[in-house]
């Protein structure tokens, strides 16, 4: 029952001023055990805010982050799952599943969390899961202006991960749920 929050591409203060209030009201300290952040926060204040939501914070460096000491990629193990975080601008073509799968094999992780495209996607392939939490503030990306704020909450329990996707569409928070089970033979 470990709750892991995945978000990124906030671009505060350059492209957005803050998280949408509805999202902020949901991110209550005490419920979430880990945060993985794909990057582009961009400033320290956002880092501090995320720390108040959960002290266990893992960030990968995005191209606009002002903190230069974040790593390019990061891996961590939560329960039975190995997670990998990367911003995604390094993986070309941006958002391409095959390339991301390459990265996933490189990092040897079950769940890869990347961003940069500001669009939520979740792919499942035989080696694992690739999740893009989108942009939590809905800021524009290099590709498009039409961005809905979104983030992802993963509930890791044993060999099963339930991915809750929170999107702000037309002022309403929409939640969707995706189930992934890890087969024990994967990721040899």
């Amino acid at each position: 029952m470990v709750l892991v929050l995945a978000l990124g591409d906030l671009h505060i203060p350059h492209r957005a001023s803050d998280l949408p209030p509805k999202f902020k009201s949901m991110l209550v300290p005490g419920k979430i055990q880990h945060i993985v952040c794909t990057g582009n926060l961009c400033i320290k204040e956002v880092h501090d805010y995320l720390k108040t939501v959960c002290p266990d914070l893992h960030i990968a460096r995005g191209e606009y982050d002002e903190e230069t000491r974040y790593p390019e990629t990061k891996t961590l193990t939560i329960g039975q799952f190995k997670l990998g975080v990367c911003h995604g601008h390094q993986v070309i073509p941006w958002g391409d599943l095959d390339s991301l799968a390459m990265l996933q094999r490189q990092l040897d992780v079950d769940i890869l969390v990347t961003g940069h495209t500001h669009q939520f996607t979740a792919y499942k392939h035989e080696a694992g899961v690739v999740i893009n939490p989108g942009s939590a503030t809905g800021s524009y990306s290099s590709i498009t202006y039409d961005v809905n704020p979104s983030f992802v909450l993963m509930d890791i329990d044993g060999l099963r991960v339930v991915v809750y996707v929170y999107e702000l569409i037309d002022g309403e928070v929409k939640v969707d749920k995706i189930d992934f089970k890890k087969t024990t033979t994967s990721n040899a």
Binding site: M26, L27, V28, K31, L153, D155, R160, V162, K177
Partner: protein, 811 residues
Amino acid sequence: MSISPVPMEATMPETASCSEGPRRFGYLRGVQWRIDLGILPSSPSSSIDDLRLVAANSRRRYAALRRQLLIDPQVLKNGSCSPDVVMDNPLSQNPDSMWGRFFRNAELERMVDQDLTRLYPEHGSYFQTPGCQGMLRRILLLWCLRHPVYGYRQGMHELLAPLLYVLHIDLELLSEVRKVYEDHFTDIIDGFSFHENDWTHKFDFKKLPEYMEDCNGSESPVKINSLGELEPKIQTIVLLSDAYGTEGELGVVLSEKFLEHDAHCMFDALMNGTGGAVAMAEFFSPSPFGGSHTMFPPIIESSAALYHLLSIIDSSLHSHLVELGVEPQYFALRWLRVLFGREFALEDLLVIWDEIFAYENTKFNKPGTNDAESNVGVLNSSRGALIAAFAVSMILQLRSSLLATENATSCLQRLLNFPVDVDLLKLLAKAKSLQALAVEAINSTPLLILPRLHGRRNAGFTKAHIPSLDLTSPRTTLNMAHESYWEERWRVLHMEEERKQGSAASAEKQVPNRKKGWSERVRLRLSRTKCDPFRSKATFRKKNETDEGRKNIGGDVDFGHKIPAEVEEQDVKDTNFSTSETRCSSGCPGNEENSSNISDLSTPVRGTNDYVNMSGRSSVASNFSAEENDTDSVNFEPLQANPESSPLPVSELDPDDDTLNSTQNYHSVIKQAAGIKERKLLSDKFQLFWKFGRNINEGTSDRAAVSEDAIACDSGSDCNNVAGSSIVNGCNSTSGISKAEIIDQNLIFSLSDLGQSMLENIQVIESVFQQDPDQMGSLENCKNAIVGEGHITAMAALEELRKISNLLSEM
């Protein structure tokens, strides 16, 4: 094991005040206590079978409870249980969601665990085992979930632990007996050796003599030659644990499997008092005991009763302690809350509790006293009297050392570090002898205690900080048990949206006893700093209590009925701010929604509007204050004047209209009057009219008689006059209704919004009342005028408010 064996045959004579009754199961404490606490039938004639039946039922109840309340996280995963992911995701602020409950339970569990890890470390071999800790945790969790009013308090675990312990001891006795007699039955009978556990079958008493004769090689230490030689005690034990008796395994009274169930039942009975007077839960409750009107928490009352008893028995010691300023609750809190659990070792405690539970717990009926004079509620039984007497005898034990000190701190030190090497039996004997006196004391002079309490309270609370009194902790603990700030906001936001879309009434029920969250507290604080004019409104309430107020309301019979009734009953414990805030803050939402109706102002944050409105309100108040001569009723004016005008708009409405229509009419009228400049002022008053107007609508008679000069007395309300007249003239049916439909949805939305905010405000008041009375100190001037009279009225007025809000929200 320390079991005090009481011969089964001896039946103690029943005295008037204590019923020691036949200590049928004196050697089986667990069973005896269950009988004493009222879980098992206590009449001497009830058979073992009856006991088993009752036990089985209680266990069934607990099992059902457990299934219902303990949330299995696995269940959360199965998507089928909740189709609506929006509601049931982990971050959902919806307090009703499974996840919400899960997190709340996790909070409770954390608190409980904190205490459990420190429970009885000297008996850690039993109490600190994971099995035992798990049982204790579950029992406490379930009890607290069932009784959200009390929540979990430190000390509850110490009440539960000895109960579990005695059950455990019983089981040890049982297994010993089994061992003794089991040996006997490993003999071979007819060439077969019985391995089954069915040793009651072996206790086939008819065959017993034959077996006895058959077995010659037995090395068993116990030789039973005949039925009669089997000790009755053992016989009972056997029957109580017979797996094939009534109700089968579920009915086995001494059962290891159902240890948790039994312990929970005992704990529940102890806390609830099972209909008697001594309900331990009351000692943990911050609110006044139901039947008493003293307004002090029961623990304070009981402590005062202790001192009262002490003063009767040993007045010099009593006066010495009082002089030093040693308030009884400093030490009595700990003594009473865990029933002396902290002062004595576990074995001694069991003996004490034996005695305490032996006394009956039925409330005393005092003929000739009315409700207002009852009593030191919680200790109002012979059991309670014994508790008080025992506490007093403890104090007397330390008499010499207490009299020797001239220092409150060292007195307290001595009281709180009760000597270990004390002769318990002597203490108990003394307590029993004092018990009769205690009964008399408790029965006779409840009122005397109160002014003393009051006096002491004023003095004591303002200067002395009570170290162990955790009356303020209810706020935090109950907050955790109830919704958090965000959850409340979510609720509010969602309800607004739902109504905007015209959807059906929201599924969420408004929880009436939700404690206030941050929002109200923030509002409370801010409003306190802001609303200085309200201080003068302090005597607001006092006026209301008098008949004069009733008279002033004038021709409006029903309304006059409502208002003074309402306000009279208001609890003025934390008089001023809370009550004035009731008015203003309950006014404000109405204000807001009116303005949203009228002017389509958006109200993004209710809080800010509140502040604005409150200042507007105060200006209204000051407008009115000029009129009144009597200083006391200076602030009653707004209440007066408003109600008088309030019937007007409503009176003209056809009483036959359903309330919705009428309020729609009402609001359409408001629209008509919308061109008025002093819109805010208008809505300030309208909120009152509107709120009371609803009452009036429901129970009102023809108001046409109410004259317009009633309006005229509103000094600063020209707009009111205009509105009033326009209402009188142009209102009612058709024109109103056509407009009504336009604002129909707004109305529903805003009405329920109002109800919601009224509820919030009620909670504000309530929790403010229950707060540390230190806050009263700041309002000294007004307080003295009001305190002592309006308590009851205030409380009931709150009830009225609540009813109003419920009605409103039902719309």
